[in-house]
Symmetry: C2
Subunit: 456 residues, 2 copies
């Protein structure tokens, strides 16, 4: 006899299904007949729907089958063990760190939390269609705001139609890697250069051509002798060396692209965090032949956790994208897009940029002063003036391994360009963005202690 609990949260048919299943496994032979639906209804005083639902589930799971004139016969009585394992719900053991010099982190106070919450709420109040897939390039009205911004602040020459909103750098790059999949086999990158760009194109089976950089950015002569027709560069603030490519070289680069029918990916990742000069206008804006693909992001100046970046394609490529990426879904949360749109439209983005620049310029200067004061003549500053880190190298003989060992002991987290450049260049990245102003002095003090201990 089956028993049913009315207080049980489980629907009646599930209770019935579970008990019959157990019954089949323990007591039934193959091809043995189950009681008819009517019989079960009357025996337990339950509805036809309930019994049918339970039987139907047993049919789907392959225990029973309905045969004409015979009724329901058992076709499998083997127990299917859905073992439920003890879930491991212990939280991560967080590594305890006193000072983390992470080179691409904003202090959490930098995010305009209250404002964002208010605008998010407003965005949700306006009619957002959350029931369906949104525009694969991202919301048109957000792209209009972005095009305006890029035009006046970065001299990027584009309309909303040319923009694709992405989840950030790797997403933007993957789209390109797939777009050029059958046409281009070789991918050129600055050496030293950003390892993620390299990695994504390697993952897509491209051959990689490392082009060395010099004091004016990528070595254009070497490029001209190379074999690639797709080049990744960071002309405004070379990653990681910080070099800015002069305008003469920009023109040469564009001529190279035009003559060789090549495309240039301009990654303008952190020009918004430029502390001493009006940022140099984009390479894309100089391009009259539609050879430059422009990459930007909201990760550096707003938040990397929102996952919003974008790319601007030349017109012929956006057509290709539209034809080939039919299935593509925009990967940015729609509400985030709408919030960002309002944020830009109401002028908060430009205000935010000014605020972030002011805050981080102060931190930059503090870090620089502290490094010069505490480490003095033992260091050479390799890159400064922008972004969220100052890059240094020893001018003395330093035991790098000892430094890292001491850092771990002292719970100081250090970051090296080697890890981010495919081992092609070494410098220490002294990130300042994640610290509060008043923490910087202490952080550098702690660092200088292990630094001097590591000098041979």
């Amino acid at each position: 006899m089956y028993k049913f609990e009315t207080k049980n949260k489980k629907p009646l048919y599930v209770q019935l299904y579970e008990q019959i299943k157990e019954d089949i496994i323990n007591n039934y032979q193959l091809e043995e007949k189950l009681p008819s639906i009517r019989k079960v209804m009357t025996t337990y005083n339950i509805s036809k729907n309930t019994v049918e639902a339970a039987y139907s589930q047993l049919v789907i799971e392959g225990y029973i089958e309905s045969f004409p004139k015979k009724g329901y016969l058992v076709i499998s009585n083997e127990f299917q063990n859905f073992k439920t394992k003890d879930l491991d719900t212990k939280p991560y053991k967080e590594e305890e760190i006193r000072y983390d010099f992470f080179p691409a982190k904003l202090h959490k106070d930098t995010f305009p939390l209250k404002l964002w919450k208010r605008i998010y709420s407003k965005a949700l109040d306006e009619t957002i269609e959350l029931g369906m897939y949104s525009d694969k390039q991202g919301e048109y009205s957000l792209r209009v705001e972005l095009a305006k911004y890029l035009n006046h602040s970065r001299a990027v020459n584009c309309s909303a139609e040319q923009i694709i909103m992405t989840n950030g750098f790797a997403d933007s790059l993957s789209i390109l890697a797939m777009l050029f999949n059958n046409k281009i086999k070789n991918f050129s990158i600055e050496k030293p250069g950003y390892h993620v760009a390299r990695k994504v194109f390697l993952n897509h089976n491209y051959n990689i051509d490392d082009i060395p950089i010099n004091k004016e950015g990528i070595d254009i002569e070497k490029l001209q002798n190379g074999f690639s027709s797709l080049l990744y560069v960071t002309p405004s603030h070379q990653y990681p060396t910080g070099v800015t490519m002069p305008i003469a070289n920009r023109m040469k680069l564009l001529t190279w692209a035009e003559n060789t029918n090549s495309y240039i990916i301009e990654d303008d990742y952190d020009t918004e965090l430029s502390y001493f000069n009006k940022p140099i206008p984009s390479l894309q804006g100089l391009d009259l032949k539609e050879r430059v693909i422009y990459f930007g992001t909201f990760s550096k100046a707003l938040s990397p956790a929102l996952r919003v970046g974008y790319l601007v394609l030349p017109k012929q490529l956006i057509e290709k994208y539209k034809q080939e990426f039919i299935y593509h879904a925009c990967r940015v949360c729609l509400i985030t897009q709408k919030t960002l749109e309002l944020f830009m439209k109401e002028g908060f983005w430009e205000k935010h940029l000014r605020r972030v620049r002011t805050i981080n310029k102060k931190k930059h200067n503090l870090m620089k002063n502290q490094l010069e004061e505490k480490l003095g003549s033992t260091i050479k500053i390799e890159a400064q003036g922008g972004g969220l880190a100052i890059l240094i190298n020893p001018k003395v003989e330093l035991n790098w391994q000892k430094l890292e060992k001491l850092a771990q002991k002292e719970k100081i987290k250090l970051h090296y360009t080697k890890e981010r450049t495919n081992n092609n260049w070494q410098a220490l990245m002294m990130g300042f963005g994640s610290f509060k102003e008043e923490e910087i002095e202490k952080a550098v003090s702690a660092f200088s202690k292990i630094w001097f201990e590591s000098i041979n």
Copy 2:
């Protein structure tokens, strides 16, 4: 003489920079000397910082350079035209449609807007670190909630460590395509099957092996004779035919995977929208040999616009992922993740599922009744009972082209499985999710008119 406007919003140094630049282009010869910084300071009574900033910008842009003992000389006087184009800000012309039978859309009222807003706000109030990149697998605490849910509702056997939060189906697939990149060259898929899965693996240069399906899902014999070691299946609700794979075949499939060292991707995309049976437990839960990769999504039952999906990897693959995807950033907005975590933790997800099922079951039944009433014996129902569409085919001779032409004329948007299955199977997808209940009768009426006109 340069002029400065104090009411001008532009900083003084930018005004100076712009005027000197114009001056250089119009009046200077190459190697001509600029006035010294001190001279400019005294002439215009402006600070040293201002002049230095303007000159430094001109240096960066490659117009001038500082030479020892000579001062600043012009090294380029060519005008760099940053033309700003008229931005195209006209909104999209929306295609005017009376009835859209889109097969994967929820009505916008289905989204729990007020609740989401409240929880989002709560999530933001708790300490969220928006200044940095978040966990590349997604937030641990969200994955704990998800593991619990998958365990008890889908009998998925996993812990939080095995889950990767993604932006949805294509993102999940791309991760796998890259993970298997050098080990596996062939990818098997159901025929007919979901075209996006095919497309993503094609984009990653895999060979595709189409395995026909029969009444019990994928043809296991054909699979055993194939050459692939990576298989994509939709065992609980085959896309697009709706077939459920019986348990006996599931066991055979697992045996095949075990014997051939293959992996099975189980895409459990819409089992949550199952209207008449308790959904059959996942294939993953039957797998004792770690051969099944489980795919799920929040797109079908919550919102495709939030962009949240996930995959569950067997332990040996999650280790491989951790080693190889060092640079990978989680592509889901952190606030969305935190909101979803609270949404699940506080029990709203299960409540929401019950509500969505109830609403859409009603719409499903209305659509089915209307189709039977209005189209009667002229149609065969190919698939029903789950998801957001009923699939039909004509039992009479139908002029498909005429139907499509009439549909366009009447502003009815029809959707065909051919478009979504690489042309491998034809049926009409009568989506009901996007309609309000009271619209369904009118929509089917309008449709039946053009249907009968298209019968030969």
